[in-house]
Symmetry: C2
Subunit: 411 residues, 2 copies
């Protein structure tokens, strides 16, 4: 009987452990699966033989706690495998470990870079005649994976952004003087999260007056004119900007120290778009302005997660196990929206070759003509993804978390 | 039949509207009270005759929405009345409005500065033979009001800090490299909020390794030695620092532009202690460090409020009306802890003269000897205050808010 291995990689989300819970449940309920192992720190840990049994997490209470524990329970990594044609040593090391643990299925929960791992390992297995199957489970708060309707992790991050905008809009409106609040949301190239700030607007509250996405060049003059106009009619103006907004010349609005440093994947490490916009408004318009960077809170705040997101993340984990057992490899579990009203989705296998290293940005028809907002189509698309509130376990006012794993090396 | 007036002032909290709901309910249920009015933007609005009827908010649904709507529903102000002996014009203007609206009781929901307003107006009323009674309802996330066991607003802000620490601790631990996270909490002179970060520690999670309060001088050398020591045994080190930490010479750790600007009450406008500590650690220890400023989110995040706090804030509003009707004036509703285990409190009238313009800091016995943490006594004191989760109303994934008030002037 073969065993199952599950990995997590890339940046954490509020629901990546819900997918882990789904994989564990799927594995334990499958008679074809012997043991379920977790690889520590993604593929890096597998290469080093650091696998742990997830047996202690298979009961209902542990799975429930995992579902509400943010971040990557098994740890993460930013390792990208070299092409096997250039250097096959990591591949050999990884498959040696997989054989030692009698692993037949590997579920990788992650984003774009993790799908690259699924792609490379499944191809190597095929080329070298190994029977191990590799299936990807999508996660990213950025919602930038191609082909799939959306990605687990986005809904909860969007809901946190929406909650912040709505509650900050109440907070900023209390004094009888004009003010501008700039909220900076994550999203390097794709403005899904910044755009979701617009979901904060309803009949009771206009909590996002302007939304700036990285998909549109940031036109300072037009932006300032718009803010000035808003300040004439509204005491407290609320803005959401993506960390990745760039000027017409393509340079980031904030080109400071942080932007110069590159992380291991060659992405610019951003931050400070909010501060830059704050300085711009203060300097040019002289209005009281405050910027708030939601920072990593937006990806880990499980306490206000979307139930839709948690449930879908869990389901994607279960389905990944089923697809691997059916013999699929080199695929990612994707979401297909089969109905808009009522919202319904179907989980489908997608070819990972068409996903890895591609990026889905907000399409034109979802961005307002002037570039300072999103369209009704965006709202209809995103609103169902933030719906529902999970029933969370607290003790003494503290969100309960899955107990830490004993992380001793196993090989 | 006399009418009731309620005001809100000072910085917003997650539960200041729960107190407003309590006052409205108390007023509507008292046969001696005719109408309940709200003053817009605190005493400033009263001086300008801007009173609105709160009749539309007296039904159960509206009161429930008010309970979960953060910030000051009636608006706020930072106005401080001059001593009447120096300038009695604002007093005359205010009492003229109170007479025009036949106001017999005024409930002021606010912090230290609002209690100064209660003190001055009640004294003026007494000296000039007016029958209007003034009762304070405490609120402040800083928990720095004297005589009362604690202050509504603190529990929910502390719970947000605790939630952030616990969830960020999960987020920062995912990579297999050492890192330090610095979370900056509000609190100019009193370290209650920064100290409450220590409540994040339990058997599943050590989410606050060091806590720095403004009550102790920040000793850079000792601090760095402690961080370095922690980094040897723990991959991801978590720190909470108060915005108000100062060096041995009394100067703020962050003495930038923001610190130079003074707000109208002469408080230094702070910010940046977290960034300063981040730079210190990076520079001196060369460890990967990230700082996160919780900013105004910590005072307005009703979505993770403490039920204990919401209930107590509401109750304080009800009791204020009762005390005013019984003829009390120049008092604040205070909390007396009558039992620690189980936690029980009693609401009592406190002389506002002993509260206004005083400040309660964290006492020595609640601060760890080395100044980098809090004692068990602090934990026992603060833990009950974050307990319980309110049953919140959401629609389409959005926290529902009280409908905006029509704010037309009434005089």
């Amino acid at each position: 009987m073969e065993n199952l291995l599950v990995l997590q990689s890339g940046g954490p989300t509020a629901v990546i452990n819900a997918s882990l819970a789904g994989v564990i449940k799927g594995g334990h309920e499958s008679p074809q699966i012997g043991k379920v192992y977790g690889g520590l720190n993604g593929i890096e840990g597998v290469e080093g033989g650091r696998l742990v049994s997830l047996e202690p997490l298979s009961d209902g209470k542990s799975l429930r706690l995992l579902r509400q524990t943010p971040s990557s329970y098994l740890g993460s990594c930013r390792k990208k495998l070299p092409p096997a044609s250039e250097d096959d040593r990591p591949y050999k090391a990884i498959f040696k470990v997989l054989e030692a643990f009698n692993i037949g299925c590997v579920c990788c929960i992650g984003g774009n870079d993790s799908m690259d791992t699924v792609q490379k390992l499944s191809r190597f297995a095929e080329e070298t005649g190994k029977s191990v199957r590799f299936v990807g489970v999508p996660k990213t708060i950025d919602n930038d994976l191609c082909l799939t309707d959306h990605t687990p992790g986005f809904g909860s991050a969007a809901k946190f952004v929406v909650g912040c905008m709505r509650q900050l809009a109440q907070d900023t409106a209390v004094y009888d003087i004009p003010s501008v609040t700039v909220v900076e949301a994550m999203g390097r190239n794709a403005g899904w999260l910044a755009g979701s700030a617009a979901l904060a607007n309803d009949s009771a509250c206009t909590a996002a007056d302007i939304v700036c996405l990285p998909e549109r060049p940031f036109d300072k003059a037009a932006f300032l004119a718009r803010v000035e106009e808003l300040c004439k009619t509204k005491k407290s103006v609320m803005l959401a900007v993506s960390e990745g907004i760039r000027g017409k010349d393509g340079s980031y609005i904030y080109q400071g120290e942080a932007a110069k440093a590159n992380d291991k994947f060659g992405h610019a490490s951003l931050g400070g778009a909010g501060k830059a916009v704050e300085a711009l408004i203060k300097g040019e318009l002289g209005v009281k302005t405050r910027s708030i960077e939601l920072s990593t809170l937006q990806r880990c705040f499980s306490a206000s997660a979307s139930l839709c997101d948690v449930d879908e993340a869990f389901e994607a984990g279960c389905v990944a196990v089923r697809l691997a057992l059916e013999g699929s490899s080199g695929i990612m579990v994707g979401f297909e929206r089969t109905s808009q009203d009522p919202y319904r989705i179907k989980l489908v296998p997608l070819d990972v070759n068409l996903i890895a290293n591609f990026e889905k940005r907000v399409p034109d028809e979802m961005i307002a003509d002037d570039g300072f907002g999103v369209t009704e189509e965006f709202i209809r698309y995103a609103l169902p993804l933030i719906s529902g509130e999970p029933d969370l376990l607290y003790r003494d006012g503290r969100l309960q978390l899955a107990p830490p794993l004993k992380r001793e090396p196993r090989l």
